[in-house]
């Protein structure tokens, strides 16, 4: 069968937009980033991604989302791979598929706003690899998207501004239409408009109504739908969206994901076939092959799956999205609160309502979840976090529907103050979005070079500007251990010592096979001597485990 037309990274953003508009049918985006974040606590390792890459690349997806969100920070902290390195590898392994990233507007990949020059640098450098930028603001405050959107356009990439969707008081179709108006009037119509249903809420009918309303007002605007399958009902919403004119829908592989993350591609495709909806450029066989492979790989990540398996229809009330739920539950587990998780969820419902019925998506989801946890542990609003204070101060933007009650402002804004200032004065003096001074990049570079004792790249500077402490730790790690993503995931996540005779085999980036054979382990006092054959050469490494307690405490 001849190769059907498909979207490729070689196309310009204009060509991509025209192709989407003028080609009948629906395009699918494979969102491994969200699957990894929602169902595996961001732990899917590059080795797995690269194994699946040839299949996914030949499937003919609209895009492959592999970076952004919490992933950038987690790449540095838990996977010890540079997000840029990961993108470079994915780009090499998937040359035919555009790469997509999700970015939290002014908050980039972090939890609070960044200065303009950090935003510009980040978008410029990531755009070396990223073709499509999905941009949102957790308060749907459209001015928060502008700087990022401008940087995306400057880089010549496809801009996909999103409206965050939810339900409840104030979340009317008219409200969302106004937001779309604001997006189009502020950012232009050379965009794809995203509907971001991170909380997996709303009936198919509600989604259909929203899409229909937008499509009626903006018939030429390509629409994309990003949903989660937390309640098990996203297929219904996806189909409703498509029937009303959505052109791009995000999916997962059925080999993993499909629970807290996106619904499985294949289930969706089967329905679309029945509905006689075209899927231009898409091939089913590679999608099957991807999942055959991922089903085997999934076992490596078993311990990162949610402690609560299966669909969660209660999301309709608590609205915690998949991507936040996995990390929130991990946080609860560490705090010894997993047995009281239901209490935290109940508290979260209250907190969300009290805090303006905003969208529970990063960084809002972290702020609300941490507040709920803190409220359960220490009493309601007794120990407010700095981020909650920032939210109430309006540093992220205004509350879109209603302000929290005065007693909450009082408890939060007057907490810990020694100057006796009352909360209205605090709000008056310190409230509102603040223009942040640009970062002094030469100074940051000097700081890094002093620490690392070597020259640093722009990419390293970009990561350091966003996550100073964790990025620095990561650079030191790489200087010491190299490209550890080459190690198989079962070695990376290994628990316990290795038995004598264990063989670790893996290819390097140029395809050459390496072997590490564990020969023996000897303990003397605080020291562990591991002898191994490293590519058939005997080596003994000595580690002091006296630092174990210290390390764990860090």
């Amino acid at each position: 069968m001849a190769e059907r037309d498909r979207i490729t990274p070689k196309m310009t953003s204009r060509e991509i937009l025209d192709f989407v508009k003028n080609t009948p049918g629906v395009f699918l985006t494979n969102n491994e980033r969200d699957v990894s974040q929602s169902d595996f606590k961001c732990r899917i390792m590059p080795q797995t991604t690269l194994k699946a890459a040839p299949y996914r690349d030949s499937a003919g997806y609209f895009a492959f989302e592999i970076t952004g969100g919490a992933t950038v920070h987690l790449d540095l902290m838990k996977k010890q791979i540079s997000p840029f390195e990961k993108l470079r590898l994915v780009r090499k392994a998937m040359p035919n598929t555009p790469i997509q990233a999700v970015v939290r507007g002014r908050n980039l990949f972090g939890y609070r706003p960044y200065p303009d020059n950090v935003i510009d640098l980040t978008i410029r450098l990531f755009s070396r690899y990223v073709d499509i930028w999905r941009v949102y603001d957790f308060l749907n405050h459209i001015p928060n998207l502008v700087r990022t959107a401008e940087a995306v356009k400057r880089a010549g990439k496809v801009l996909m501004p999103c409206v965050c969707f939810s339900t409840g008081a104030g979340h009317t179709v008219d409200f969302y239409l106004e937001k779309v108006d604001e997006i189009v009037s502020t950012l232009g119509d050379d965009i794809i408009l995203g509907i971001k249903n991170h909380s997996s809420v709303g009936t198919p009918a509600k989604i259909a109504e929203l899409v229909r309303s937008i499509a009626d007002r903006y018939p030429d605007l390509p629409l994309a739908y990003h949903g989660h399958n937390t309640d098990g009902n996203d297929l219904g919403r996806m189909i409703a969206a498509v029937q009303e004119g959505v052109k791009i829908v995000e999916v997962s592989d059925h080999g993993y994901g499909g629970t807290y993350s996106q619904a499985p591609a294949l289930s969706f495709i089967q329905v679309l076939h029945d509905y006689k909806v075209e899927l231009p450029g898409l091939k089913v066989l590679p999608i099957l092959e991807t999942s055959d492979l991922l089903r085997r790989e999934r076992r490596l990540y078993d311990k990162f799956e949610s402690p609560f398996r299966g669909f969660d229809p209660t999301v309709k009330r608590h609205k915690l999205p998949g991507g936040a739920a996995s990390l929130a539950l991990e946080q609860a587990e560490k705090a010894g609160l997993i047995e009281r998780a239901h209490e935290v969820f109940s508290e979260l419902i209250k907190v969300r309502k009290e805090l303006g019925n905003i969208w529970i998506v990063t960084p809002g989801s972290q702020i609300l979840w941490s507040t709920a946890m803190s409220n359960v542990l220490h009493g309601r609003y007794e120990r407010p976090s700095d981020d909650l204070k920032r939210l109430l101060l309006g540093r992220y933007g205004p509350f879109p529907f209603y302000d929290p009650r005065e007693w909450i402002f009082q408890k939060v804004l007057e907490n810990g103050r020694t100057d006796g200032k009352r909360w209205p004065q605090v709000l008056y003096d310190e409230g509102g979005i603040q223009k942040l001074p640009d970062e002094d990049f030469p100074k940051l570079r000097r700081q890094m070079e002093a620490q690392l004792k070597r020259a640093v790249s722009d990419e390293e500077l970009c990561l350091y500007a966003q996550f100073p402490r964790d990025a620095l730790e990561f650079f030191k790690f790489v200087d010491k251990f190299g490209k550890t993503w080459l190690l198989p995931p079962d070695v990376w996540f290994h628990e316990g010592g290795f038995s004598d005779g264990t063989r670790v085999t893996f290819p390097d980036e140029s395809g050459k096979t390496h072997h590490i054979d564990l020969v023996s382990t000897r303990r003397s006092g605080d020291s562990v001597h591991t002898s191994m054959l490293v590519d058939y050469h005997f080596q003994t490494y000595t580690n002091s485990v006296g630092s174990l307690a210290t390390r764990k405490a860090m």
Partner: protein, 479 residues
């Protein structure tokens, strides 16, 4: 022919000698000090004898070595280089004990060992030497001679110990004041280092090239040369890289080699030796000294001629004539030799003793290794730090340089710091590639020391696997 040869040395040269002896069907005896009992030359010999507790002193103990030869019924002794190789007493006592000494007769060692006598012999034979003085008398007389020498020849002037050699016992002076201050200091240093406080002066040549000629002579008056070697790349007068043939015009090479043969004849030379010359900027050459031993860098002459110099040494010592005539010796291609030492070039070449955790060596066409290390070997702190001598051959200079770079890349040595990363810089240096080097090369190319040492990627990953094993979890995945 000898039945059994005792090698009065250690390390790579001991093994080198044993190889030629083995090929001649001669059994070998190794000697060692207690502090050197894990050295690989012991394992390569047919027999080994511990000659004392060491360190260093027993390898210099003539009586013990002769006793070891007698008790093992060896009939010949090869001294290698260093230790007792150029001690005329050793040669003499071996002969007196009825043991064949694989090297020149005592008188030759003695004459050539005295720089002043050697210069006189060469002068008598009409061989140009660098202007120099006799042995300086102590006190004011010596100072007077030094002052008039300085007036006649100008600076720089080198103060040299009569018994010095191998780059030791040399002081450069740039003016009269320095010269006068250095005379008593050089004298006391010479006494300490060589047990002989005699010194003399030599005119210093600015940035000369160091060229030497390998000669072979038998007891029947046959003398041949094996061409030139350039040993200009030195660090503090210690050779680091040697090249054969020296890159010189053909007629100049011919004249230098003829002069070397003439020098060997004048000194009544027997066995293998090296005649060293210094070349000034105008290609004038001056006799420097004769080394009455097998030299570290003999391998490059072997590579370009195909002649086994140690084999010839043994044959000559056994009373046989040289097996080759000058007309049989054909020079082909270029060879480069360098010494891979356990030293940290970036810490002023400080010795880096320790255990060789990984040793992986290069191979293939045109690569020769003369080493004495093995994986797991703990380098003793008492001896020199040479791990292995790398000699490469190429049909052309550039082929030899390319091969050298490849060979250096193929080495994997872990556990100790080595000079390999520094050599890797040198082989990439345009001056080296264009053969623009003299004795000032290392001094004027200090930037080559500014390199990053690379740990193999696989070793870095293995160290993480070891850490996961030690902690029972991956602290970098869970932190």
């Amino acid at each position: 022919m000898f039945k059994k040869l005792l090698v009065a040395n250690r390390g790579e040269i001991a093994i080198r000698i044993m190889r030629s002896a083995n090929e001649l069907g001669i059994k070998t005896v190794a000697v060692y000090e207690e502090t050197d009992k894990t050295a690989s030359h012991i394992m390569r010999a047919d027999e080994a004898i511990c000659i004392g507790l060491g360190p260093r002193r027993d390898y210099l103990n003539i009586e013990r070595i002769i006793l070891a030869a007698q008790s093992s019924r060896a009939d010949a002794i090869h001294p290698g280089y260093g230790f007792l190789a150029e001690n005329p007493a050793f040669s003499r006592q071996c002969t007196e004990a009825g043991l064949a000494f694989v090297g020149p007769p005592p008188q030759v060692i003695s004459d050539m060992g005295s720089k002043v006598v050697a210069r006189q012999i060469m002068a008598d034979a009409g061989i140009p030497s660098i202007p120099g003085t006799e042995v300086l008398p102590p006190g004011r007389d010596g100072e007077g001679i030094a002052a008039s020498f300085a007036e006649r020849y100008g600076f720089p002037i080198i103060v040299k110990a009569v018994a010095g050699g191998g780059g030791r016992g040399i002081r450069f002076t740039q003016n009269l004041d320095e010269l006068m201050k250095n005379l008593p200091a050089a004298r006391s240093e010479a006494l300490m280092a060589f047990g002989n406080d005699q010194i003399y002066l030599e005119k210093g040549l600015p940035n000369p090239r160091h060229v030497e000629v390998q000669v072979l002579a038998d007891s029947y008056g046959n003398v041949v040369h094996l061409g030139t070697r350039n040993c200009s790349i030195q660090r503090r007068h210690q050779k680091m890289i040697e090249i054969a043939p020296a890159p010189l015009p053909e007629d100049l090479t011919a004249r230098i080699c003829e002069t070397a043969v003439q020098a060997a004849r004048a000194s009544k030379y027997v066995n293998a030796g090296t005649v060293e010359f210094l070349l000034d900027q105008d290609n004038n050459f001056y006799f420097l000294e004769v080394n009455t031993r097998i030299q570290v860098e003999h391998t490059i002459s072997e590579m370009i001629t195909g002649i086994d110099i140690v084999r010839e040494q043994i044959l000559v010592a056994a009373g046989e004539p040289l097996s080759i005539a000058q007309k049989d010796i054909i020079f082909r291609g270029t060879a480069i030799e360098l010494r891979i030492n356990a030293e940290d070039p970036r810490s002023n070449f400080m010795a880096s003793p320790g255990v060789i955790e990984v040793y992986q060596s290069p191979g293939g066409h045109g690569i020769r290794l003369d080493g004495a290390v093995y994986q797991g070997y703990e380098i003793p702190r008492y001896y020199d730090s040479m791990l292995v001598k790398l000699t490469v051959y190429g049909f052309t200079w550039i082929e030899a340089v390319n091969r050298l770079a490849r060979a250096l890349d193929n080495f994997v040595i872990a556990g100790v710091k080595t000079t390999i990363p520094f050599y890797k810089q040198i082989v990439k240096d345009p001056d080296f590639i264009n053969q623009t080097f003299d004795t000032s090369y290392i001094e004027t190319h200090q930037h080559l020391l500014d390199y990053q040492e690379e740990v193999p990627e696989i070793d870095k990953l293995a160290s993480l696997v070891a850490e996961i094993n030690a902690f029972g979890y991956n602290p970098y995945a869970e932190g």
